[in-house]
Structure formats: C-alpha cells, structure tokens
C-alpha cells in the first residue's frame, strides 16, 4: 500500500533549494551568446555600427526592447515555482508597450506627410519581423530548457513570459544588425515581432513545459 512512499523515502537525499535566478540566467546567457554570434556571422552587424552606438536612437531601440524582457523576467522566475503569483511584470510590460506605441504614433504624426510611409515602413519591415523572430529562437530554447529544470504549473503564462523575454532580448540583439532608426518603426515592427514570439510561447508552453 505504501510502497511508493517507501521508495521515495529511500531515494531521499538532501535537496539544496533551487535558485531559479541562477538557473535561468545561465540558460538565457548561453543562448544570448549563440544569438549574438548568429546575428554577427549570418546577418552581419550594421556597417555603421561604431557610429550608431554614439546615437540616442540606437540605444532607445535597444533599451526599450531590453526593458520589455526585463519586465517579463521576474514573472518568469515566479512562475518557475509552484504556488507563487506571477506578479505585476506583464502589466508593466503592457504599459511599456503602450507607451512605445503612443510615442511611435506621435512620431508618425510629427513627420512630414511625404515621409510618413518611410517612417512607418522603413526599408526592411518584412525582413525585420522574421529576423527578430529568428534571433529569438535560441533565446526561447535556452529559457525553456532552464524553465524545465524548475516546476512551472501555469504553462501557458510561463510560455508567454518566456516568449516575451526571448523576444525582447532577441530584438535588442538584432538591433546590432538593423539600420532602422524611426521610433514608429520600432513601435510597430519590432513590437509586433516580440508579440509574435510571446504568442508562440503561450501557444507552445503547455506542450514544451509539461512535467
């Protein structure tokens, strides 16, 4: 009757409490290296990278994308453990995204009518979508692998948060290669790409994270 308990008691070894933060950072860190290498070697850095990193536009793009990931990160850590609430991170991420959309919209309205199409579409909007998604794949995989070592119980939410982290970091890394400068472009295509990765995470989460 109690043989399972006997087995488990026999199998007991001291268990050091898991540290989601260290595990997840390791997973994400390794994946980030792969993504950076991929972007540099396959897509190539933008030709004017050294000049670009002295401009505010480059860093706004980079920081906003990193900020989205940073908002989802604590959510991911909380969801890695059974019985902890996800917290407010996703609401804050939505707020950041909303702010970006407003800024992008204002930027579009302020642009001269003749330039509006370019401000919105840039010269690479379709490429941007799939390149950000591609850059995010190793990050998503690394995050999911690390998450599987923990014990998430809300798989869809955890998948979404993992996708948001991967998409945000992926977009930030892709900005090494991307020459688009317009805030409207970031607010539309970058944001859409990150949202797609997050949605894919929510879709795949229950399957990938099951234990």
């Amino acid at each position: 009757m109690n043989d399972i308990i006997d087995d488990l008691v026999t199998d007991l070894t001291p268990a050091e409490p898991a540290r989601p933060n260290a595990t997840m950072i390791a997973g994400l860190g390794v994946a980030a290296l792969i993504s950076i290498l991929g972007v540099v070697m396959v897509l190539g850095p933008r030709p004017d990278l050294m000049l670009a990193i002295q401009t505010a536009n480059f860093w706004i793009k980079f920081m906003v994308m990193a900020l989205l990931a940073a908002c989802a990160w604590p959510v991911l850590l909380r969801l890695a453990r059974p019985g902890s609430s996800p917290g407010l991170g996703l609401a804050i991420a939505a707020f950041v995204a909303g702010g970006l959309i407003v800024a992008g919209g204002v930027n579009l309205l302020l642009a001269p009518a003749s330039e509006r199409m370019y401000v919105l579409l840039g010269h690479s909007w379709s490429a941007c979508l799939w390149k950000v998604a591609l850059t995010s794949i190793p990050l998503f995989a690394g995050t999911i692998i690390a998450l599987r070592r923990m014990a998430p119980t809300r798989l869809r939410q955890a998948g979404f948060a993992a996708g948001l982290v991967a998409g945000g970091v992926g977009a930030a890394i892709y900005s090494i290669s991307c020459t688009e400068q317009s805030l409207t472009f970031i607010a539309s295509w970058y944001l859409l790409a990150v949202a797609l990765v997050a949605a894919a995470g929510a879709l795949l989460g229950p399957r990938l994270l099951r234990w």
């Binding site: 308990i5 488990l8 007991l12 898991a18 923990m150 014990a151 119980t153 229950p206």
Partner: protein
C-alpha cells in the same frame, strides 16, 4: 504544532536536509490530503484519483528543491496537486465534474484552518449516529478513502457503504436543523 501549515513547513525543512523520518511523516500526511483532494474532484473515477495521488507524490519528490523555505508550503503543495489535476484533464479531455476555479483551491487552504474546530463539532455529531454510519462517514469523508476502500476495510459491500454514508449524512443534517424527532 496544531497549525498544519507550520507543521508541514517544519517537516519539509527537515526533509530537505535529508531527514528520512520527517520525510515519511510528511509524505504520509500529504498522501491523505491528496487522496481527499483528488477523490473529491474525480468522484466517478477512483482509479485515476489513485494514480494522481501516486503521480503527485512522485512529482513532489522530484521537484522538492523548487520549494522555497520562505514560501507557504500548502501553497506550493496544492499548486502541484492542481497542476497534476489539470494535466490529467488535458490528457484525457475529461469533462470536469466540478468547475475548476480558485474557489476549490481556497477551499482546500481554508480546510486547514477550519478543520480543527470543525472536527470537534463533527465528533459530537457523529457520536449520535449508529456506529456503522459514523464509521462509513469518517472513512469516506474525513480520512478520504474511496467507497471501495472503505468497503474493504469494513468488510461490507461498496453499496452498503454508500447507503450508510447517505443515511448518516441525512440524519446528521436533520440533527443540525434541530429536528431530532424523526431519526429512526
């Protein structure tokens, strides 16, 4: 040590240090809780409820490192039980017999706190019932056995258990309504 949460938390802390005795007590306690939890939600599927008890105990064992000593143990524990239940529904696409919501979860948490005082009232109430009915109710509703298990333990048929429980609860309810007249 009358607070179940504090007791379980202490047992878990000892278990994480490798204390086999504490771990056994912890698992036995959790097994009782899980049996009650799953059989209440899978009333028509005792086999699956038993499987889920085993599976959840196993999951708790494998994932025990993910319990953070700073967090509520019952929260961690019921999150895993609930996850295994949802996973079961997903796997077998069984229609839920009961809405699966926070209420059920809160109900389990509240059980811990209400249990002690309720137990006293319950003892009083059960003492007024015929021995057979009282035992049947104790086994199925308090210990958390299935009707089949209780039948085996009392050496009667499963339907006899169900009848005893039903009659017992009915007359207990009548007592509560302060109508002791008809209790034959």
């Amino acid at each position: 040590m009358s607070d179940p949460e504090a007791k379980l938390r202490a047992l878990m802390a000892l278990s994480q240090n490798g204390d086999a005795k504490a771990y056994r007590i912890l698992l036995e306690t959790l097994k009782g809780r899980l049996t009650a939890y799953f059989s209440r939600r899978l009333t028509s599927d005792a086999g699956s409820a038993d499987d889920l008890v085993q599976e959840t105990l196993m999951a708790i064992h494998v994932k025990r490192a993910t319990y953070d000593p700073g967090q509520a143990f019952t929260g961690w524990f019921y999150a895993i039980a609930r996850y295994k239940l949802i996973d079961h529904y997903r796997r077998y696409k069984v229609r839920r017999t009961e809405p699966l919501d926070e209420a059920a979860f809160v109900e389990d948490m509240a059980d811990d706190f209400a249990a002690a005082s309720a137990r006293m009232d319950l003892d009083e109430l059960l003492a007024r019932l015929p021995e057979k009915q009282a035992r049947a109710i104790r086994m199925t509703k308090i210990t958390g056995l299935t009707s089949a298990e209780a039948a085996q333990a009392m050496n009667v048929s499963e339907s006899a258990i169900k009848v005893s429980v039903h009659r017992g609860l009915k007359s207990a309810a009548a007592t509560l309504e302060d109508d002791p007249g008809d209790r034959s």
